[in-house]
Subunit: 95 residues, 2 copies
């Protein structure tokens, strides 16, 4: 599934709800989901981690919807087959 | 671009580096990137926010790589044209 297609699906499912909640509230939900992903990874629970990865990308995408950002375009603009910092593939950054 | 294609690009660019850093360290970088997205949104800086959205999905995807998770499959398994909680489209959850 294209990132853009997923963003459109999230728009159909959640735009009304997340737009009403607003950017700050939706960002806070996303931050909570990232915390849950961290817990699943710490517990080494792969099944739970898969669901939490899905939740993080879902909330991130819905947040992009309510802020008017095309997530696929933003992603490709920054990451297009080379590291945006060192311009190499694979990345050769030393940090 | 498919989510899976993006994950493969992230693998070529960053797997060696992020796998060496490990799950905890890479998760912490992802959390930092989410913080930067929050700052860009708070400042209402759309150009910065686009770059931070890209960074968050990039780090999330690289984290999925080093934990052996197929992000597109995990995402479609949970979100497939209806809300996983209320089973409706659009979502009718009341929380």
């Amino acid at each position: 599934m294209h990132i853009h297609e997923f963003q459109e699906m999230m728009r159909r499912l959640y735009f009304h709800r997340d737009n009403e909640r607003g950017v700050k509230g939706t960002y806070n939900w996303l931050a909570d989901e990232l915390g849950e992903l961290g817990e699943a990874l710490k517990a080494n629970d792969k099944e739970a981690a898969e669901k939490e990865f899905a939740d993080v990308i879902a909330w991130l995408t819905s947040l992009a919807n309510i802020t008017g950002i095309d997530l696929e375009r933003a992603t490709i603009n920054k990451y297009s087959d080379k590291c945006p910092k060192c311009q190499q593939s694979p990345c050769q950054c030393t940090f």
